[in-house]
């Protein structure tokens, strides 16, 4: 893509953002919307600049917790899904409990997590892991079940062992689904980390908590913006790994040539 097309492709999504920010700035500055409801974008930006060191440190803490939680949920979720895919009985017995991880409201079990794991990062990582594990289980399970039947026939024809089927066929075939689940999970891991930080302390969660107490809505917005950015960074990393792994062969990665 040459320079001109690059710019013209960036313009459409930028336009609503610029308009929205201008609108917010005008309505808050003029006093039409009180500043304790919505901060003027200029104040949020000033907050980002003034507190950049504190926000950067907090962001790094939250990111590392979210990443650790994601790694944890990825390994346990994938192993769990592989185990469930092997036996129909096992799947029917245990899958409903996996759904529990999806539906349990993390904000209400976070205090329990503190009692089990103590204050600080262990609780935050646990919270991130709990919130992000279900999409991984669901997608991996789906992917393992989506192997082309003819290929399963082929492997059966040559008396492939269950292990050969799993490693040489089912898991590689499931990779697109696995990455899809990982994408969703990475955004959730950031959310889970911040909720965990409300109760466990540290990171962007505590910045939001403290800013809320002091009615510094501009700081709250600044922290929220950064956490959205963290989510985007994680998803971007997943996309990168996905492109590198699947690039040579999967249709979702190949551009029209």
């Amino acid at each position: 893509m040459n320079f001109k097309t690059k710019i013209s492709s960036l313009l459409p999504p930028l336009l609503p953002l610029i308009l929205g920010m201008a609108l917010a700035e005008i309505t808050v500055r003029s006093g039409w919307v009180p500043s304790y409801l919505i901060p003027a974008p200029s104040e949020v930006i000033r907050s980002l600049i003034d507190d950049r060191v504190e926000l950067a440190v907090a962001a790094w803490t939250t990111l590392s917790s979210a990443l650790a939680g994601l790694l944890l949920s990825f390994t346990t979720g994938t192993l769990f899904a592989i185990a469930l895919s092997a036996s129909d009985l096992a799947r029917r017995a245990f899958y409903p409990y996996a759904v529990f991880f999806q539906t349990v409201p993390i904000i209400s079990i976070a205090p329990l997590l503190v009692i089990w794991f103590g204050f600080g990062q262990p609780t935050v990582i646990a919270s991130a892991a709990i919130v992000s594990v279900f999409p991984i289980i669901a997608s991996t399970l789906l992917g393992l079940k989506s192997t082309e039947p003819a290929l399963i026939d082929l492997f059966t024809l040559y008396s492939a062992s269950a292990r050969q089927m799993l490693y040489m066929l089912k898991i590689p075939f499931a990779l697109p689904q696995i990455f899809s689940g990982l994408r969703i999970a990475s955004g959730l891991a950031v959310v889970g980390a911040i909720v965990g930080e409300f109760i466990g302390g540290g990171g962007l969660g505590s910045v939001v908590d403290s800013a809320r107490t002091q009615q510094r809505i501009d700081r709250v917005f600044a922290a929220v913006l950064i956490s959205a950015l963290l989510g985007a960074v994680l998803v971007g990393a997943v996309n990168l790994i996905s492109a590198l792994t699947l690039g040579s062969w999967h249709i979702s990665e190949r551009k029209a040539s």
Partner: protein, 313 residues
């Protein structure tokens, strides 16, 4: 035919209920029902609100309920807040005023395990362990400033005493009239230190409303505050009826703890022993001190004029 009749009845009663809601006065608490709010419930139970043509509905709150914003936004007419919240909101442009203060002496404190052997707040801050305190709150910042070089680890305060009961190295903020009593009933007696003794003593548990609303509804506000005052005088005399109501609303506290709390908090409410008609009234001097303290803690960038912050009724 019956279906149509039923539908019309439902429609009419909905309209009636909605109409009734429009004249109801919402009174939003910032925590669950406790002796801290006993006088309000007494006023409601005694029917005094109704006698003065006030249809008051008290709603409980919890951790993080943004009562000040709800009042500033006219979502509720009256609410409960901390005095420092009033100052900070005024500095941010939300025009709310304080009308009645339940506590003359602020019962905010730090509770610790007696086994730790702490003799003062300084000991608490300069020893290892964890201290749960609302991060960014004025009393937290005040104490951190007073004890720089603190060794204790600060953790978020989430309400309740669950961790206090299980962790012997855990200390937390509290209302000295409330949580330590519950802890003792649950088998873990606590020692508490009053933050007011360290020099930070804003009014506690104040009734707030929008200034514009008060200006336009002087009689209603006066009637409401006088009823509230009567309710508190009665609650100080006989807390049982209100306690019986509140115990049904708040599972975290039992009847015996409420009785104890109601007793313990008397001195905080009466303060230096003002006459009954003066219950809940506030002074410019106290508000001025608070403004200066919050300014020094860099929580506000401008100093609101003290007499804009409250009105006595």
């Amino acid at each position: 035919m019956k279906i149509i009749l039923g539908f019309v009845l439902i429609l009419l009663s909905t309209v009636a209920a909605w109409g009734a809601q429009a004249t109801q006065l919402q009174f939003a608490l910032n925590w669950k029902a406790e002796p801290e709010f006993g006088g309000f419930y007494t006023a409601k139970l005694s029917g005094s609100f109704q006698k003065r043509n006030l249809d008051v509905e008290i709603t409980e709150g919890g951790a993080g309920t943004p009562v000040v914003q709800m009042v500033a936004n006219s979502k509720v007419r009256f609410g409960i807040a901390a005095a420092d919240e009033v100052v900070i909101s005024q500095a941010r442009g939300a025009d709310v005023v304080a009308l009645f203060a339940v506590y003359q002496i602020n019962p905010q404190g730090i509770m610790v395990h007696p086994e730790r052997g702490f003799k003062s707040l300084g000991d608490v801050f300069n020893s290892p362990g964890t201290l749960a305190i609302q991060s960014g709150s004025p009393h937290a910042l005040f104490l951190q400033k007073q004890f720089p070089g603190y060794k204790v680890t600060f953790v978020p305060y989430a309400g309740g005493i669950a961790t206090f009961l299980t962790d012997p190295n855990f200390s937390q903020q509290c209302f000295v009239t409330s949580e330590p009593l519950i802890a003792r009933r649950k088998g873990k007696p606590a020692q508490s230190f009053l933050i007011a003794d360290a020099g930070f003593n804003p009014y506690g548990t104040v009734v707030i409303a929008r200034r514009q609303y008060v200006a336009k509804n002087q009689k209603q506000t006066r009637d409401l505050i006088n009823t509230v005052r009567e309710g508190w005088i009665e609650y100080l005399r006989a807390p049982e009826p209100a306690n019986n109501t509140m115990v049904k609303l708040n599972r975290a506290m039992d009847a015996v703890s409420m009785k104890e709390a109601a007793e313990v908090q008397k001195s905080f409410i009466l303060g230096a022993g003002a006459p009954a008609q003066e219950l809940g009234k506030m002074t410019m001097e106290r508000w001025g001190t608070l403004v200066n303290q919050l300014y020094d803690l860099k929580l506000i960038k401008t100093k609101p004029v003290a007499d804009k912050l409250f009105q006595n009724f």
